[in-house]
Amino acid sequence: MMQTTDWRAGLGLRKAGIYYALLILLALLAGIAHSRGLPAYLSAQNLGNIAYQASLVGIMGVAMTVMLITGAFDLSVASVAALAAAVLVGLAPSIGFPLAALAAIVTAVSVGIFNGAIVQFVGINAFIVTLGTLTAVRGLVLVLTDGRSLMVEQPEVLQQMLAFESTRVPLFWPLLALAVALSAWAAFRRRILIGLAGLVVAGLALLAGQGFAVAAPVVYLALFTALVWAVLRFTVVGRRIYAVGGNAEAARLSGVNVHAYKLGAFILSSAAAGFAGVLFGCRLGAINPTALQGAELTVIASAILGGTSLFGGAGSVLKTVAGALLLFTLTNGFNVLDLGASYQGLIEGIVVIAAAAIYTVGGNRRRAA
């Protein structure tokens, strides 16, 4: 009996609303494309594109979700990503791609340690500290690039970078395997929701066809999301991350090293931003000093769309990725269908507020019940 109420709640608006919103939006855009006689909107090609466009924000969003769960905040991710890209593009010609990528991520992590140490040990609010690093790190990018675009000119290094970022990975068989694994797990544990997820994955794979392939960043996003999801869901570290955000004092008095967890979240956030920056640098083989400006707000909007609480203690990385996909589906739809780019920001903003309203009102009802 517990099980039935459990999966019904799992399909409710509050728990699964972001997935419904994504599906409804896709259906709506497909309908508009059809009625205007445009090429099919729901093609494997276009869906792969949306995922590709969402991948960088998705990677940062997953780490941001962990950050928000612990009750902190990181505004500096986009600047850190730009810094990592600048380090990569600046160093790759002289020390090669792998070492330059490592240097980029180490740079990013050191910004995270700086953020986290100041927040934890000086006790300044994370919003203020990361607002400061948002500006300062962007300034550092300008200094490093001397205000101009940098680019990698050695063909062999460029080749390596493109291979890292633009290789297309065939996904048909992996998706089918994932669907089978999910269904098997669902059957074994009698979990209806997981079975549904398996069906959706299988349907997607069959819809996309045997030649379905996506760019590498989509795979990186999927692997990173799966890893973080598993850590949050299955490990003691995961539980303690939620406990630190849910009630830091109770966690501390239960023997949890709250400082280490909060610092770790800053490091994870910056490392993910560094990795996203590496991917961004590889995409063009170049970096413009204003690259990714404002992307931190899209990252946070993804997490909010996914229902992550800004007060800590609650959040899901899968839903954050769905939130990022939803935002990029909106962008993609406006471009592909030529719906007038001027409306895009207006609609996106309304969607974020509407989502937050649904979560808040739903949450209040639940508390009252």
């Binding site: 299955f234 003691v236 939620y242 004092e249 109770a250 008095l253 239960s254 090293n257 203690g313 609650a314």
Partner: protein, 546 residues
């Protein structure tokens, strides 16, 4: 003797929507120019009565007559307009505003600091003999001066009645004197004062009349001059039933071992909870659910150190250097009022107070000075305020119980079983292990907080007010459990404001006041009234703990 009463309560009742009866018909008469003391144990109904008087909650029955007319205040604003000012225990001031702006907070009008208001504030300040600078930021003031600001704020509307809820509970000695002086001054100026306090000595020296509440009834009305501390303490305690029967000492396997471990006690040393195979079947569930790793210090020692030893453990400004020992299986009670240093002592032992200095030895081994190291060494703390320190409201019962567990992976099946076992063992009323703790009642949530530590890895149990705000049934469950754990060999330190509980379950009781252990008493030869007297009176230190 005096004129017509200012305020007269007759048969005031308060029944909460969930059926809890807080007030069962209280009569209370206050006169202008007199200080009226209100006392009672925790849960006696003092706070509820104050809220009714302040207009914060409506009474369920009875009448309130103000200057001879029946009134029914619907909001705090209405009560204030009538002339009742209430100063709550947790001083609700805005720390980022100046003193004068805090005093003007309730004032309507357009300007931020109108001239008339500022003049009134200055007048009130001079009335109180200018204890503060009107332009100082409240956040910069010491706690005693903030109390003065709160009093000044209450006096802004020139109330006829001033209600003060434990105004001295968090103050040091000289700061208390200033509050006393102000109370005497106000009474002399014709205000009525209702003074709520835990401290018997200040009630005796300050008030003209006394009312004692017990279980929602006023059980004593008297002129202070006719009373002494013992009479008041007896009225506070009453003939209330004792939740636990004390068992004779001889019947307890582990109580009161000789002061310096003699070496022949099988339970002393590290292995108090280790279980032989024959014994395992007879032990409670939790022993079977968690297998305990063999204790490194167990066996083979000729001289067994005490289970817990504190050496000069202190924290500047909060806790004087304290040395004491607790034997395996012993429950040591700590009796003290709010702010006596009782919670600070437990936090210092647990490593949760970074300023604490001194050594804590568990079975002869020093333990680290952070909560993580303390937990790793087997120290468990059930904190005072369960909602803000004890549980994570959004997490399920099973997850909260599993919170101190270490290791890499969660083990849902085992955790589920452990939660089921705890629910059964502690009689937690909950739908199941997956229910969020935030939805449980106080007593059940507290049981979850305790259940968190019911593992064989726990080698010292620190309990801070484990029964506060809990109904009598759950309270008895919890006390029985504590006694049972001690009988299995666990050393326990128990802080409680319910001295009756301490007498019921403890092997000895330490009395604390002002950050200092001032006495050690034997629960078999003391009673609650005597304990209240010791913890709340200015008694000379008779038996400083070694």
């Amino acid at each position: 003797m005096v004129g017509a009463p200012l305020l007269q309560l007759a048969g005031v009742e308060k029944i909460w929507p969930n059926g809890t009866v807080a007030l069962r018909g209280v009569d209370l008469t206050l006169h202008a120019g007199r200080v009226h003391g209100l006392l009672g144990a925790n849960g006696a109904g003092k706070s509820t009565l104050i809220k009714v008087l302040a207009g914060a909650i409506p009474a369920s029955g009875g009448t309130v007559a103000w200057r001879g007319e029946l009134v029914r205040w619907a909001s705090p604003r209405a009560a204030r307009a009538a002339g009742v000012a209430t100063i709550y225990q947790h001083i609700p001031l805005v720390p980022t505003l100046s003193v004068v702006e805090n005093m003007l907070l309730e004032r309507a009008g357009g300007w931020r600091a109108d001239r008339a208001g500022c003049a009134r504030a200055a007048q009130v300040a001079s009335l109180l003999d200018n204890p503060f600078d009107l332009d100082a930021l409240v956040g910069d003031l010491p706690i005693g001066t903030r109390q003065m600001v709160a009093i000044a704020q209450g006096l802004m509307a020139d109330p006829a009645l001033l209600i003060m809820d434990e105004p001295t509970a968090s103050l040091a000695g000289h700061e208390r004197e200033r509050v006393y002086a102000v109370v005497r001054l106000l009474a002399a100026q014709g205000h009525a004062v209702l003074f709520v306090s835990h401290f018997l000595d200040e009630i005796l020296s300050l008030t003209d009349e006394v009312t004692v509440l017990r279980d929602g009834r006023a059980v004593l009305h008297a002129q202070t001059a006719d009373l002494d501390e013992a009479a008041i303490a007896a009225a506070i305690v009453g003939r209330s039933v004792t939740a636990l029967e004390r068992r004779p000492r001889a019947a307890r396997a582990f109580s009161n071992p000789p002061p310096e471990g003699e070496g022949d006690q099988p339970q002393a040393g590290g292995g108090v909870l280790s279980t032989s195979d024959e014994a395992r079947g007879a032990l409670p569930l939790h022993h079977r659910l968690w297998r305990r790793s063999p204790s490194p210090s167990g066996g083979g020692l000729i001289e067994n150190p005490p289970a817990l030893e504190l050496r000069d453990l202190g924290s500047p400004g909060k806790l004087a250097p304290t040395s004491l020992t607790v034997a395996a299986g012993e429950i040591v009670g700590i009796a003290g009022m709010l702010g006596s240093g009782r919670s600070e002592l437990l936090h210092a032992i647990f490593g949760a107070d970074p300023a604490a200095r001194g050594a804590v030895l568990l079975h002869g081994k020093p333990i680290g000075r952070t909560p993580e190291e303390a937990v790793a060494a087997g120290v468990a703390l059930v904190p005072e305020d369960r909602a803000t320190q004890g549980f994570v409201a959004g997490m399920s019962v099973a997850e909260n119980i599993a919170l101190p567990r270490t290791g890499l992976f969660q083990s849902p099946v085992q955790e589920h079983e452990a939660a089921l076992a705890a629910i059964e063992r502690l009689a937690i009323k909950v739908q199941g292990p997956d229910a969020p703790v935030g939805e449980l009642s106080g007593g059940n949530a507290q049981k979850v907080v305790i259940a968190k530590w019911l593992t064989p890895d726990t080698r010292l149990l620190l309990l801070d007010e484990p029964t506060a705000g809990i109904d009598i049934g759950a309270r008895t469950d919890i006390l029985r459990l504590i006694r049972g754990l001690a009988d299995e060999g666990l050393p326990v330190l128990l802080v409680s404001s319910e001295f009756e509980e301490l007498i019921g379950v403890c092997d000895r009781i330490l009395v604390m006041r002002d950050g200092l252990v001032i006495a050690e008493v034997d629960p078999e030869t003391t009673d609650e009234a005597a304990l209240i007297q010791r913890a709340s009176g200015n008694f000379p230190s008779t038996g400083m703990a070694a």
